[in-house]
Symmetry: C2
Subunit: 254 residues, 2 copies
């Protein structure tokens, strides 16, 4: 078993796509997503949804994401990072403020995909055998002492997709009595076609925007990871970021 | 002036593409690149090339990039971050170890693009008026006390490209007596076509690989930023990462 996987490994690529949109009229998304390269090899994505909306929620999610990536960059294991970020929030906001925290990692040291979740919203895994909704009970960080993440571990196998999101996605269409029905929707994804995760994240985002009639009722962030057969001779890493330019909020000489 | 720019701002998108390749036979690139969302709005890219090669260079560049993104996430201004990272390296390696450090930021607070450079390698700016090589003398961090970055500030204007890289790119073809002639090469880029920065970074990478006959003599990292007219109604942020999966280096239970 390990031999067979070992033989395949160098020919697999990991692709991750993130799409993020602020709720209508809010201007700024209260969600923060950051990615870092893990010091032992691989990378991690940290997704935080701070309680509330606007500037306050954004400041909170920024502080928590900063803490998480600093710890991950120091080599701390994902479970310890989630606990430490909870303790930080619980200590300094005295149990009064909640946030959701997801950490998605591809760890080249253990050769696994790790999903650490402090979020009532589930995440989904799509592979050739079907779609699994991981909805084990999970608590946001910040409100009670000693909160722990739910950690899932997956093998790195071709044609595996992992879909993680903040609850704005689940709530799309709620105002109009509609439901995004993610499980049904994801079941239709042609896993074996090897499409990019960007196609899936865009499709989900468009679907959510349609249900909310173009005016998202909440901040939404979607992270899709895909393990696909490699298609390049050279070992190249790529990163792409795009965002609308925003007007200066105050005139700031450097 | 500020009125005209102000009117255009909400219709501009910022796109950034990064491509990174390890030198042939090295397995691991000694370069580290990280990106973060700035707490005041906008984002920053930190590019570090640690002295030497292999695991040692990688550990060094990882430590320095970690320090830089932690400070940036705390809201520290770019020039202070470059100075602090230098001081950190100079203090703990006692002036014995060098690294190059570039910080590329789009700062939504001041509405500027900032390039902070501790790197003898130049960077390039392409806009409708032509190509400018920014090669003001600049020193790597780590070797002498009180090193400062060279900081350049650019307006956010449509059809502006900024190209930053580690010196491996400049050295492509050196072994075979060839020169990448970046300035000539970039002068041919059709700025007004509004192509994605990913096309430019891929073109540069392919060109470098050809000159090195498919076996890069050094780690190479390329960062290309583009300011282009916006093409979407909604304010969506996107991030995409791809990398070859690497075999576990040691068996690690979580």
């Amino acid at each position: 078993m390990s031999g067979a996987i070992g033989a395949m490994r160098s020919t697999l690529d990991i692709h991750v796509a993130v799409a993020k949109i602020a709720h209508h009229g809010g201007g700024e998304s209260g969600d923060t997503i950051e990615t870092i390269e893990r010091p032992g090899g691989g990378f991690s994505f940290v997704l935080v949804d701070g309680q509330g909306s606007g500037r306050g929620a954004k400041t909170l999610s920024n502080l928590l994401a900063t803490r998480a990536i600093s710890l991950l960059k120091d080599g701390a294991r994902d479970g310890a990072v989630a606990r430490a970020v909870h303790d930080y929030l619980y200590t300094y906001r005295m149990g009064q403020v909640a946030a959701t925290l997801n950490i998605l990692s591809v760890d080249f040291q253990s050769g696994k995909i790790l999903i650490s979740r402090n979020n009532p919203a589930p995440f989904f895994v799509l592979d050739p055998e079907g779609v699994v909704s991981h909805n084990e009970p999970s608590t946001p960080i910040g409100l009670q002492p000693m909160i722990k993440p739910v950690i899932s571990e997956l093998e790195v196998r071709p044609y595996t997709y992992v879909v993680i999101f903040t609850d704005g996605l689940l709530r799309a269409g709620e105002r109009y009595g509609e439901d995004i029905e993610l499980l049904n929707y994801l079941s239709a994804w042609p896993v074996m076609d090897g499409r990019s995760p960007g196609e899936l994240s865009e499709m989900l985002l468009q679907r959510a925007l349609e249900l909310d009639r173009g005016e998202p009722c909440d901040d939404m962030s979607i992270v899709v990871l895909a393990v696909l057969p490699g298609n390049e001779a050279a070992s190249i890493r790529r990163l792409a970021v795009s965002a609308p330019f925003e007007e200066p909020t105050w005139p700031a000489p450097m």
